[in-house]
Point group: C2
Chain length 213, copies 2
DNA sequence: GTCTATAGCGGGATAGAC
DNA sequence: GTCTATCCCGCTATAGAC
């Protein structure tokens, strides 16, 4: 067998959570440690003991804050989905009403969320499958709501002739996928600032729907 | 605690491996079972016993074919990278010499690889981090070679004025990310045939680099 | 090559003192 | 809330018969 080395799943980024929504005190520290570990080695690859060590408490103490390892993941996944949904709706509310501006705003917000909280995005997207359906349901609703935001903007742009794209559904999927991958490589070890990436990606999205900006 | 239900990480697709490169006999059956299980619940979430059960052999028998659970993953990850690299180089060899045709060919091949073998692509991309560096190295070399294929086509297209894209590196990353996500949703439960997706994505890529096709 | 059996360890979770 | 101590189980991997 091997020693403990493991390649990273994401760039070396500090484990940060959105302000305001993060619980205070030990509960918050557990959440942040779990974010780092789940991102590095996955939910199943992270033991309760390692998580407790990272927090600096005994493993038994974890159970005073969360009833199980899975509940910690559930809270992370929910925070991640809420953060994304909030940012997308805010972006739409603040931008002009035409489909091109709305698409650009959605893509910018989508990319910025993944660049600002890459670990949270990675865990939210690739570890949510470890949750039982009951724990997962609220996050899936938010996910569907996000999908619909993009879908509606796309449909509107096609309907009023702003966009020229043969298959709007596929275009929305492609754009969303392109954005999500940002969480896999964005970090301080690469030269692009977050808003530069967001601007470029917004432009890519506009081009995909047939607008040469 | 909970019973054994787990949401899927990918669409419900049969666990298929590229022909020719798959070992025959029990070794091949182990590989296919591991592909299905690693895709469903991840490397750390899959036990040797469950893997053996799926194959229909005793867990001890696995060790007559692979020295460890990790070696099974290593072979899958290597097969995945080899398949992708082969398809990309073949695509380039068969297409015309201009950058637009080359970009379209690369994207088509990239998408088709992820749509033809979604489980392999998912495992190759999201479980490779469970491998120790020595096991991972050959796959990382292939990965870098693939990245360079795309990079060179992009550079050529920009150099000869075919492409009009402000940041070619970011465009290549965005296109690659868009393609890779196909593995997460493609399957028999959705209406798009693989080559339709590939054609659309190729067109999206051309639009990203400023060509309205 | 395949099995039964088991070693040896680390996992998640709990009891109960402080 | 946090600790020490521990239960019990499932894990990877090995030994040895056939």
């Amino acid at each position: 067998m091997d020693e403990g080395w493991q390649p990273r799943r994401v760039a070396a980024v500090a484990a940060e959570l959105p302000e305001g929504v993060t619980p205070a005190g030990t509960r918050g520290r557990i959440l942040k440690a779990a974010l780092a570990l789940y991102a590095e080695t996955g939910f199943h690859g992270t033991s309760i003991r390692r998580l407790a060590d990272r927090v600096g408490i005994n493993s038994a103490t974890l159970y005073s804050h969360y009833p199980s390892k899975e509940h910690v993941l559930a809270e992370l996944v929910l925070i991640g989905h809420r953060e994304l949904h909030t940012r997308l709706t805010d972006a739409l509310r603040r931008c002009e009403a035409d489909p091109a501006a709305q698409l650009a705003a959605l893509v910018r917000a989508h990319v910025l969320a993944h660049a600002r909280y890459p670990l949270l995005a990675a865990v939210t997207n690739s570890e949510l499958h470890a949750l039982a359906p009951a724990q997962l349901a609220p996050s899936l609703e938010l996910r569907e709501a996000c999908r619909r935001l993009m879908h509606d903007v796309m449909a509107q742009g096609v309907a009023d002739g702003t966009f020229s794209v043969p298959d709007p559904t596929l275009a929305a999927i492609a754009i969303g996928g392109m954005d999500m991958q940002v969480a896999q490589w964005f970090g301080p070890d690469q030269p692009y600032p977050a808003d530069v990436v967001a601007d470029h990606y917004a432009r890519f999205a506009l081009r995909i729907v047939g607008l040469d900006s």
